[in-house]
Point group: C2
Chain length 235, copies 2
């Protein structure tokens, strides 16, 4: 069943892209159920009342699993195909927000005047993957920051993932908190960055004994954080 995010569940309006998907891609029919979720987290299973696909009927409200945490990943800029893949998987594994970071040793440093278009594209990927994962709220890729702006992104639990060093991530998380995890670029962090992390009291954690590529680390981290909700699973 397809899910669509809309502004307001009380006045369902599809975007041009969504209309195209409904009419041309999915070729939807009357009485075929679909999910609609709005920006406030309200969702309904709906159907079109006739084959013109104009009048929408709400069938039943969707009961969402309420997450017990908020997860923000501060992700160093990496090569585009791998970053886009990571964004899709981050939506699947329950990341709430991605902030892109211009790491000292990053191969990709910034997008210049393409920044806005890039963020648009990343959010399109995030939105589609969020729909496919039946999320209550879509993953957002909110901004690109420099080292100076890192401090403003800190929250309740602030972690930096590093290889084979320090306590395991699962030992450092707690429900009902915003968890921030910083992920390095392929080249690792600079000495400057390491000093800054210490100054900002960002706790260094391990993702286990494996050596992970930059784009794999957030997905493994998000999986571990999702264990905070393992008791929510229907037995």
């Amino acid at each position: 069943m397809q899910q669509f995010f809309v502004e307001d569940i009380n006045k369902i309006e599809f975007t041009k892209d969504q209309k195209h998907q409904i009419n041309r891609v999915l070729r939807m029919q009357a009485h075929e159920p679909f999910r609609v979720v709005d920006t406030h987290g309200n969702g309904f299973i709906c159907e079109f009342e006739d084959n013109d696909l104009t009048a929408i009927k709400k069938i039943e409200s969707i009961q969402f699993h309420l997450k017990s945490y908020r997860l923000k990943v501060i992700m160093s800029l990496i090569r585009n195909d791998r970053l886009e893949w990571m964004i899709q998987k981050a939506a699947e594994t329950g990341v709430d927000e991605i902030v892109l970071y211009q790491a000292d040793h990053g191969v990709v440093r910034d997008y210049g005047n393409k920044t806005e278009r890039k963020l648009e594209r990343f959010n399109k990927i995030a939105l589609e993957a969020s729909e496919q994962s039946y999320r209550q709220f879509p993953l957002k890729v909110t901004k690109i920051i420099t080292k100076k702006e890192l401090q403003q992104e800190m929250s309740d639990i602030n972690l930096v993932a590093d290889v084979l060093k320090g306590e395991h991530l699962v030992e450092s998380i707690q429900p009902n908190q915003e968890i921030v995890i910083i992920i390095g670029p392929e080249g690792g962090f600079s000495e400057d960055e390491r000093i800054l992390f210490k100054d900002l009291d960002i706790h260094r954690v391990s993702l286990g004994p494996s050596i992970l590529r930059a784009e794999t680390a957030p997905i493994v981290a998000a999986s571990f954080v999702s264990l905070l909700d393992k008791e929510f699973v229907d037995a």
Copy 2:
């Protein structure tokens, strides 16, 4: 530092591909360190003694983290690009063996007379990713099986991952065992398959509240299984 897998550490012989990588891709120099690991799990940091890159000197032996489990993923055949991506990530996250499965609802059913070439390519991806992750033993993609052959693949702990149903995977794993996890295709399992899993006493487990694509599930599952080794991490 680059890692290379070879047959025997006592008689290091590089393949044609490895020689190409050493000479043309990495453009290695004398006294530049690299890792060599053999099929018995013995590894050394080595260097070439001169710029002809012929004589190899062993510098020091590599101390591997010894995994406390063996993880075999039985993966339903899915679209090629997603399957290849999954194989790379499975190598990073500690999967030991992938057996490909012709699921009833799989879009990809088999590779016909291309099977051997396909397995070769998958193992090339697995080997490269295993080198990059500094693994002691490479991930192997061993075979493609039908429903009839599933029974032969069973081991100590046999699990099938399903959405939102049953006990969480982390509750069902134990160290010093071979863990087998079956992952369904995009279309899910058939009734026939579900009956077979029950007959074979394969325990249904959840990967958490998120809805995952077929290629994401093994990576999330492997991350959870890696928690068996979280105490091995250097503090």
